[in-house]
C-alpha cells in the first residue's frame, strides 16, 4: 500500500509543477490580453521580411522587465 502513497505524492508534485507553470504564465502577463493575440496570429509576415532587409538597425522586440 505504501507504493500508492508514493504514487499519489508524486502525482501531486507533478500537478504542482503545472500549477507553478500556470502561475508563472499569469504573472508574466499571458492572460492580460486574450483577444488581441487571436487577431495577431492571422497576420502574415510577408512585408516584415522586406522591412527587415531595408531597415538599418534591428531592435530587440521588448525588454523583459520595465514596469
Amino acid at each position: 500500500m505504501n507504493i500508492i502513497i508514493l504514487l499519489v505524492l508524486s502525482s501531486v508534485l507533478v500537478a504542482i509543477a503545472f500549477l507553478i507553470a500556470f502561475l508563472w504564465a499569469t504573472s508574466s502577463g499571458q492572460y492580460d490580453d486574450v483577444h488581441t493575440p487571436a487577431m495577431r496570429i492571422l497576420f502574415e509576415d510577408r512585408v516584415k521580411a522586406e522591412a527587415e532587409s531595408l531597415s538599418v538597425t534591428n531592435y530587440p522586440s521588448e525588454p523583459d522587465h520595465v514596469n
Binding site: I5, A15, F22, T26, D32, H35, T36, F43, V66
Partner: protein
C-alpha cells in the same frame, strides 16, 4: 431643389462612408487620388501616408478598416503639451535614456486592421521600437527611443492615421492601466489555485466514496486527509480572501452584506472538515470546500470582466484639454492647464473647449454651448462678454482673458451639483448592491435560525447538535445565489457590448426593467448632432454653386462653415472678399458676385425684399448672386433613421416625453413622431430636472435618454440614464448606459432584453433555492454526508452558471 443633385453612392476608399454625405447640397465633394474616391482630404491624407509606407494591407485586414477623418480634424498643436517635460514624466509608464514606454488609450481602436496598423508604428516613426495593442482595453503600449523621437511625435504620428490618443487630465491622476492588469492577474491566479486544489482533493475523496471508509487502509486514508488539508489551506487563505475582506469590511461598518453568509459558510465548512478529520470523526467536506470556492471565483471573474469593459466614472476634468495656448508678451506658449492663472490671455481655436470662465478679448466669437445648455446653435459673443467654460469655440479662433480658475468654473459647479444631487438621492448605481446586501442580511438571519432550530431538536446530544448546526450552515451558503445575478448580468453586459450598448454596471439591467416612462432629449439623440443645410430658392447652375461654396469658405462664421462643408480644395480664385463680422460675406468667384448673410445684409446687396417670416426661423442665411436674390439656406435637422418606428413601438408600453433645450424650431419635425402633448421646448437644465422629478413623484420610474453633460442634472435625477453618442470617446457623465448613436433604435430591444434577464435571474434563483431546500432537509435530518455535499454543491453551481450564461447568450440574438 438644387441643380447639383449628384447623389453618387461612392464609398470612401479609406473610411468606407458614402462620399456625398455631410451636407444636403450635393456639392461635388468626392476627391480622387490614386484612382480611388475619398470623402474628405483627411481620409485622402491618411491613405497617402499608408501608401507611402507600403501599409495598404491595412485595408484588406478588416472591412471596417479606416477611421473617418471628417469628424476629427487634426490641430497642429493638439499634442504640444507633451513637449513639457513634467507632463511627459507623469504620463510615461517607464523611462530611461534609451527607452520610454507610454500606454495610450485610443478610443477609435476597433478591429483587426487597427491592431495590424498600430503594431507597425515603427514603420511610420523610426524611433518607435515596439507597439502592442490591447483591443479589449483599447490601449496601445508604445516603446520608443527618446533620442530618436519624442512623445509628441509618437502621438502625432498616431493621430495622423486616425488613431488619436486620448489626452486628458485624468491620465495624469487616475489609475494606470498597469494597476488594472495586476488585479486581473490576481484573479486568474486564485482561480488556478482553487481549481488545482479542487481537482486534487476530489481525487483523494473519491477513493473513500467508492470504497467506503472501511475499504481504505488507515495509513492511506490518513495520508489522503492530511494532503487534502494541506491543499485546502492556500485556498482558505489566498483564494477566499475576497470574501474575508468583504465580510470584514461589512462587519466593521456594522452592516451585513452578501459576503457575510458566504464567508460564514466557507469558514464553517473548513472548520468542520478539519475538526472531523482531527477527531477521526469522518473525512470532512474539503472537496466541496475547494469546489465551492472555485465556482465562487468564477462568478467573481464575470463580475470583474464586466467592470473592466469600460470605465465610465470620469469627472468633469475629463472634458477639458490638458493644455492651453497662452500669450505672454509676444510669444505664444502651450502650457499645462494647471498653470493657467487668472488674467492670462488664452487663444482658443475652432472646435476647442473653453477651459475656464473668461472674458472675450477678440471682437467677436461664436461659442457652441450645446455641451452645457443643449442649444445646438452657436451663440454670438462680442468683446468683453463673459464666455463660460465648457463652451466650444466655432469658426474663428478667439482670444480670451481667464477670469476664473479651472476648478471654480461654471461647469465644475454644474458637475458638483449633479453629483451631490445623486448622492443625496442615494446613489442609484449602488441600488443593486443594496439589494444584495439586504438579501444577505435576511439570508444570514434565516440560515442561523434554521441551524439553531435544527440543533435545538437534538440538544441533549451535543455532538449531534453541533454536527447539524454546522451542516445547515454549510449547505445554506448562498453560493448559487451569489452566482446567479453576477453571471447572468455580467454575460448580458458582454453581449450588449457587441451591439454598441455599454452598461455602467450590472444593476442597470435590473433598473431598466422597472422603467415606466421615457424622456428623450432631442439634440444629438433623435436628430443627428450636426445640422444639415438645405437651399431653397431658384435653381442654380454649377458655376454659381461653386462660387457660393468658395465664398462661404472664406468666412469663419459657423453657418458659412456648414455651407462650405469640409470641402477645402477648390481651385477657384476668389477676390474682393469682404466680411462684415456677424452680418455676412461677399466676394467674387467663378465670374459671379456672391453675397451670403443675414436678410439685411442681402437687402443691401440687392433690391429684393426678403420676408423672413414666411420661411420660419430656421433660416440660416440668405444668398444674392450678381445683385439678385437667389434663395436661402435653412437648417434642416433630420430625425435619425428608424427613430419614428422606435418611438411608436415604445409608445405602446411606456409614457414618452420629449424635453429639449432647443427652440420650437423643430416642432413640426417631431410632432408627428411624439404627438402634440409630449413635446416641450426651451427647457433650461433646471426645467428638465423638474420635469423628471414631477414624473417620479407621479410614481413613474423614469428613463432619460440624452447626449451628455448638458443633461447631467436631469440624467442624475432619472432612475436610469442612457447617453447616446456618435463617438464613445466623448465623455459622458452621469449616465448608466452609453449607446452608439447608430444603436438607438435598439432601445425597445434593450428594454425587452433587460426584462428577460430579470426572468433569467429568477429562474436560476428558483433552481438554487430548490437545491438549497433539498440540502437543508438532508442537513436537518443529519444525512448530509460528504458524498451528498460533494454532489449537490457543484451541481447547483453548474446549473446556475449554465442557465445564466446560456440564457444571456441565446436571448441576446434577438437584439441583432
Amino acid at each position: 431643389m438644387d441643380s447639383l443633385g449628384r447623389m453618387t453612392k461612392l464609398a470612401c476608399a479609406h473610411c468606407g462612408e458614402p462620399c456625398d454625405t455631410g451636407s444636403a447640397l450635393g456639392q461635388p465633394k468626392t476627391i480622387y487620388f490614386d484612382g480611388k474616391p475619398f470623402c474628405c482630404t483627411g481620409c485622402r491624407t491618411v491613405y497617402e501616408i499608408l501608401a507611402q509606407h507600403d501599409l495598404c494591407e491595412y485595408y484588406q485586414r478588416d472591412t471596417d478598416a479606416g477611421i473617418s477623418m471628417r469628424k476629427r480634424p487634426l490641430r497642429e498643436d493638439e499634442y504640444a503639451v507633451l513637449d513639457d517635460a513634467a507632463t511627459e514624466r507623469r504620463l510615461l509608464a517607464f523611462s530611461s535614456a534609451t527607452l520610454n514606454r507610454i500606454i495610450w488609450t485610443v478610443p477609435s481602436l476597433h478591429c483587426v486592421s487597427c491592431v495590424w496598423l498600430l503594431e507597425r508604428l515603427d514603420r511610420l516613426d523610426a524611433g518607435v521600437l515596439a507597439s502592442t495593442v490591447d483591443i479589449m482595453r483599447r490601449t496601445v503600449t508604445v516603446d520608443y527611443d527618446p533620442q530618436r523621437t519624442t512623445l509628441r511625435q509618437v502621438a502625432e504620428t498616431m493621430a495622423s492615421i486616425g488613431y488619436s490618443p486620448l489626452l486628458r487630465l485624468e491620465d495624469l491622476t487616475g489609475e494606470s492601466p498597469a494597476m488594472k492588469r495586476k488585479t486581473s492577474r490576481g484573479m486568474y491566479a486564485r482561480i488556478g489555485i482553487a481549481g488545482f486544489a479542487a481537482g486534487n482533493t476530489m481525487m483523494m475523496y473519491i477513493a473513500e466514496y467508492f470504497a467506503g471508509s472501511a475499504g481504505v487502509e488507515r495509513p492511506l486514508m490518513f495520508a489522503f486527509r492530511v494532503l487534502s488539508i494541506a491543499l485546502s489551506v492556500p485556498v482558505l487563505v489566498y483564494c477566499a480572501s475576497p470574501w474575508w475582506i468583504g465580510a470584514r469590511a461589512a462587519l466593521k461598518g456594522r452592516r451585513i452584506n452578501l459576503d457575510v453568509p458566504v464567508a460564514l459558510g466557507i469558514a464553517v465548512l473548513f472548520a468542520r472538515s478539519v475538526f472531523d478529520i482531527v477527531t477521526g470523526h469522518g473525512s470532512g467536506y474539503l472537496d466541496s470546500f475547494n469546489g465551492l470556492i472555485f465556482f465562487l471565483l468564477i462568478g467573481r471573474l464575470f463580475q470583474q470582466k464586466a467592470f473592466d469593459a469600460l470605465s465610465f466614472d470620469r469627472t468633469y476634468r475629463s472634458f477639458f484639454p490638458l493644455s492651453v495656448r497662452i500669450q505672454r508678451g509676444e510669444v505664444t506658449a502651450v502650457v499645462p492647464i494647471e498653470q493657467l492663472k487668472i488674467g492670462d490671455i488664452l487663444s482658443v481655436r475652432n472646435a476647442e473647449v473653453v477651459p475656464c470662465d473668461s472674458i472675450l478679448a477678440s471682437e467677436i466669437g461664436y461659442i457652441d454651448y450645446s455641451f452645457v445648455t443643449g442649444e445646438s446653435v452657436p451663440v454670438e459673443c462680442t468683446k468683453d462678454e463673459m464666455v463660460y467654460s465648457g463652451g466650444k469655440v466655432m469658426g474663428r479662433a478667439v482670444r480670451l482673458i481667464a477670469a476664473r480658475n479651472v476648478s471654480h468654473s461654471e461647469l465644475a459647479a454644474m458637475w458638483d451639483r449633479s453629483s451631490e444631487r445623486k448622492n443625496a438621492a442615494g446613489d442609484r448605481t449602488t441600488r443593486y448592491l443594496e439589494l444584495s446586501d439586504k438579501f444577505g442580511q435576511w439570508f444570514t438571519a434565516v440560515a442561523l435560525l434554521i441551524a439553531a432550530a435544527g440543533a435545538a431538536v437534538w440538544l441533549p446530544d451535543w455532538p449531534k447538535a453541533f454536527s447539524i448546526f454546522t451542516a445547515v450552515l454549510i449547505i445554506a451558503c448562498p453560493c448559487a445565489l451569489t452566482l446567479a445575478a453576477p453571471i447572468t448580468l455580467g454575460s448580458a453586459m458582454g453581449r450588449l457590448g457587441r451591439f454598441g450598448i455599454y452598461l455602467k454596471n450590472m444593476g442597470v439591467l435590473l433598473d431598466l426593467d422597472r422603467i415606466s416612462s421615457i424622456v428623450f432629449d432631442k439634440t444629438g439623440t433623435l436628430t443627428a448632432a450636426e445640422h444639415d443645410i438645405a437651399f431653397y430658392g431658384r435653381a442654380l447652375e454649377d458655376r454659381e454653386w461653386h462660387a457660393i461654396l468658395r465664398i462661404a469658405h472664406e468666412s469663419t462664421h459657423p453657418v458659412s462653415r456648414a455651407i462650405a462643408g469640409e470641402h477645402d480644395s477648390f481651385l477657384l480664385e476668389a477676390d474682393h472678399v469682404q466680411e462684415v463680422i456677424g452680418k455676412g460675406i461677399s466676394g467674387h468667384a467663378a465670374g459671379h458676385s456672391i453675397a451670403i448673410g443675414s436678410s439685411e445684409f442681402i437687402a443691401a446687396h440687392c433690391d429684393a425684399e426678403i420676408s423672413e417670416s414666411q420661411l420660419g426661423n430656421s433660416v440660416a442665411a440668405a444668398v444674392a448672386i450678381d445683385g439678385e436674390y437667389a434663395g436661402v439656406f435653412t437648417f434642416r435637422p433630420a430625425v435619425r433613421e428608424g427613430v419614428r418606428e422606435m418611438i411608436s413601438k415604445l409608445r405602446e408600453d411606456y409614457r414618452i416625453q420629449l424635453i429639449s433645450g432647443d427652440s420650437e424650431r423643430d416642432r413640426p419635425l417631431l410632432e408627428p413622431v411624439f404627438g402634440i402633448d409630449h413635446l416641450r421646448f426651451n427647457c433650461r437644465p433646471d426645467d428638465k430636472i423638474e420635469r423628471i422629478m414631477e414624473a417620479r413623484e407621479g410614481g413613474d420610474a423614469v428613463l432619460m435618454v440624452g447626449d451628455g453633460l448638458n443633461d447631467a442634472g436631469a440624467m442624475g435625477e432619472a432612475d436610469v440614464a442612457i447617453a447616446v453618442t456618435d463617438d464613445t470617446a466623448t465623455l459622458v457623465p452621469a449616465c448608466d448606459v452609453i449607446m452608439n448613436a447608430a444603436s438607438i433604435t435598439k432601445l425597445p430591444a434593450l428594454l425587452r432584453y433587460a426584462r428577460s434577464m430579470k426572468h433569467m435571474i429568477w429562474t436560476s434563483l428558483v433552481f438554487s433555492i430548490f437545491y438549497n431546500a433539498l440540502g437543508l432537509t438532508l442537513a436537518i435530518i443529519g444525512e448530509l454526508s460528504p458524498l451528498v455535499a460533494a454532489i449537490l454543491m457543484p451541481v447547483s453551481s453548474l446549473t446556475v452558471i449554465a442557465i445564466s450564461v446560456g440564457g444571456a447568450r441565446r436571448l441576446s440574438r434577438r437584439l441583432a
